[in-house]
């Protein structure tokens, strides 16, 4: 009834992608959602709302900072910015992910009997 872990993503993937996106530039929630959707070319189906719990977790871990400001469309939005700690965490996570990916790729490679 309550199983919310229905993302296809492994735990931490969303946070990783958020951090990566924010590394390029600080964004607010909606823009973040749009960016991930666009960049993944719709390959990833993510509920927009699921960003918010992830963002709160990142805030708690002090991997991002949040600041209220006014957006270009005169809207009151909360801009999220990557912190130094967040940048470091991102590096670690990315390298871990790439190693895992390589490993899986090798196992899945055709030709081995």
């Amino acid at each position: 009834m309550k199983n919310r872990e229905q993302r296809d993503l492994f735990p931490g993937a969303l946070e990783m992608m958020i951090l990566r996106t924010l590394k390029r530039q600080p964004l607010h929630g909606y823009a973040l959602a749009q960016h991930i959707k666009r960049t993944s070319k719709d390959l990833l189906q993510i509920e927009e709302g699921s960003l918010y719990p992830a963002l709160q977790r990142l805030l708690k871990e002090e991997l991002v900072k949040a600041v209220w400001s006014i957006s270009s469309t005169n809207r009151r939005v909360r801009i999220y910015k990557l912190t130094a700690k967040g940048a470091k965490h991102l590096e670690q996570e990315v390298s871990r992910f790439e190693r895992m990916l390589e490993g899986i790729t090798r196992v899945l490679a055709p030709g081995e009997s």
Binding site: M1, K2, R4, G29, Y30, A33, E47, E48, G49, S50, Y52, P53, L55, Q56, R57, L59, K60, W68, T73, R75, R76, V77, R78
Partner: protein, 912 residues
Amino acid sequence: MWLKQLFSRHRLNNDLSEEIREHLEEKIEELVASGMSRKEAAHAARREFGNVTLIEEDSRAAWRWPSLENFLMDVRYGIRMLRKNPGFTTVAVLTLALGIGSNTAIFSLINAVMLRTLPVRNPEQLVVLKWKARQNPGTRNSYFWGGCPGENTFSSSGASSCSFSYRVYEQFHGNRDVFSGVFGFVPPSGVTEITVNGQTSQARGDFVSGNFFSTLGVEAAIGRVLDPLDDISGAPPVVVLSHGYWQSRFGSDASVAGKTVLLNGIPFTVSGVAAPGFVGLEIGVPRQFWVALAARYRIDDRFPKERETDAKSVWMQMMGRLKSGVTVQQAEAALSTMFASSVTSGPDVLFKPELDPQIELPGASRGLNSLREEFSKPLFVLMTAVGLILLIACANVAGLMLARAAAREKELAVRFALGAGRRRIVRQLLTESLMLAVAGGGLGILFAYWGARSLAEFLASSGEGAWEINVNIDPRMLAFTVGISCLVGVFSGLAPALRGSGVDLIPALKQRGSDSKRSTRGRERRFGLGAALVVAQVAVSILVLAGAGLLVRTLVNLRSANTGFDARNILLFDIDARLSGDKGSKLGNLYRDIQTRLAGVPGVLSASYSSTTLLSGAEMTTTFRITDALAQSGINVAELPVGPDFFQTMRIPALTGRTFLAADYENSGKPQPMVINQSLARRFFGERKPLGRLLSEGDTKTPDYEVVGIVADTKYDSLRKEVAPTAYLPMGPQPGSFEIRAAVNPRAFIPTVRQVLAELDSNLVLLNAKTQIEQIDQGLYQERLLANLSSLFAALALALACIGLYGLLSYEVTRRTHEIGVRMAMGAEQRNVLLLVVGKGIALAVFGITAGIAAALGVTRYLEAMLYGVKPIDPGTFLCVATLLLGVAVAACYIPARRATKVDPMVALRYE
């Protein structure tokens, strides 16, 4: 950092809501811009976003300290639910408070009486010295002071006691092999009066060795306590006060050290005040002063000096502190050797060697405790009773919560539909029951405090042997209450919580609580639990009721027991003549004068006096031998010195020979006349005639007594004991108590008595006036305590069982309203419906009663030692109890049954 987060929670939540709102707005605007209608855009935006509420909750969850937050939420929710059902909450809290409170009260009493250690240094090192042997020794005199652990036997089948001769005391006092310190202590043989600033009142104290305080490790709060230099014959007389006594009697005077007070008219100097909290060695009998042993002859004249050095008089008690590293067994072995060699050889042999005298060293970390000996069984019984009450209370609350959980099915189903997990629901329900338990526990502490105080007061009011028990709330008791509350909360909430969380969703959401459509196996089971709880409650109530019934009958039997004398209309009182300085033969004359004058008062049928009054709890014993047959071993008899007209005043029938005449009191030559009772005549003389026979008290060939008469048997010191062989002697000049038989209302004569005393000597003070019946009742305080308390608990158990049964049936009727409506619509009469409800109630009650009686059959035998005149398996009592409970069950069925008959079939059927 997280602390700050905790407090900025509110702002955090607002920020989050706003953010999400803004997100959605932005999305909607984009979609509208791309051509959708506003309504469609809103719809699409929300769908793509996901479940807003859930997301908000998950986002907030990132910040949580989950368990604490959940718990606080549960608490708030629980408070709200409990407030919405004040009836249920009140009943539940009260029930639990009574259960928890009574347990805590009894436990605090147990703590005060049995568990607390003495407030001294390292109490676990203290031991009390005790001798034991195969048979009683050949003592000339023996004195027991009470508080000696274990049986204080002095019969032909093994003997032991804590009283030693002075010689043995001297031998052990200096022992440093096994002890780091040994001291002796003995209470004064009579009442001690302390005069402070001209005002006199009685006080209780002990004569102790010089190293008493140093061995125990009790310091002085003011001045100094006793030291060995005070314990030398001829040393200046000093007295140490207890802290409480110093506060109450001396007004906490900081300069009290050095002041002079009078003890029985003799000047003593106050050397100091003991540290607060120390009131002597005997729990429940606090001491107010301590005086060195060497100084006792200044104020205690009941004890002839010869007895002090007589190796065959045992009267001194001793306690010691074991040296560290010495075990009890080692010490016992070493001391036994010393003891045996000293008492089985030499000029005055106390024990024949084959009697194998030995020393035992029972632990004394909790002090001397005659209270503990007397009360341990009753306290255990009471603790069991309140434990059972607590069980009933828990079952009651569990039943109530079960019913409520069933009624809350819809609410629970909605919560499940909204996404609550099962564990979460269970936790929340458990929290609710825990809160009930905590509220019950809090109220229970109040009940406990009040209850414990009443108990302590009751015990303190039991007469001369009044116990003073300090029953206060200490950390151990609080911990006990908290522990019990938590246990109760979990125990009574568990079943309902587990049941309540196993709810079938769709049916629950649709139904209004009636169940005729549902395949109700789960339902039936749940109801089965409720019924089982009620049956259990009834069974346990039977247990408590049966025990109470037996104990009440015991009290009734004791109160109406045949004492052997006529206890009605007798006034008892003491005087204290020491202040007027009367001693020796002058005292004897004084007593006779008073007796003669009192006998002449109009309305007084007769007057007399005796060394102790009958059924006061005190007994004097001694050993006699037939003068012509000294080789035979003596028998132990009770003795009672009495004044003129004693048998007439107490209405003890004289059977053969004569009682005492005036002349008997004038002469003091031997042999003195002795009156014996039937038991003594039978035991000593058998078939032969006792009159004229001569008896000796010691080993001498000269007879001390001649039997001149036989009287009927009477009880002496206790109602329960068999009548002992008793010897009555003419009372010499010694302090004693008076008895007056009045025509009616003996208490009305108190002012007259005062007047008579004043006429004789203005210094005479009237003390301890009470009627004989009052004195007998005082001696029954343990039985009264048990009877009263167990009746109270029985009433409580009955009420709880009644409530439980009523609640269950009431809920049953509500639940089956629909079914009842159908039955009535199909032609059932009111009578049948009534039978339905009442039948179920009676059935449950009968099951419970049967189970309870079965349990009682096995359990009441533990009460056997406390019963009198009634067997543990008494059919009459059991029958009464069963009938009573059945009657209560019928009463409990009444209201629900009437409600059932009032069901309007049309309304009930419409409830579908």
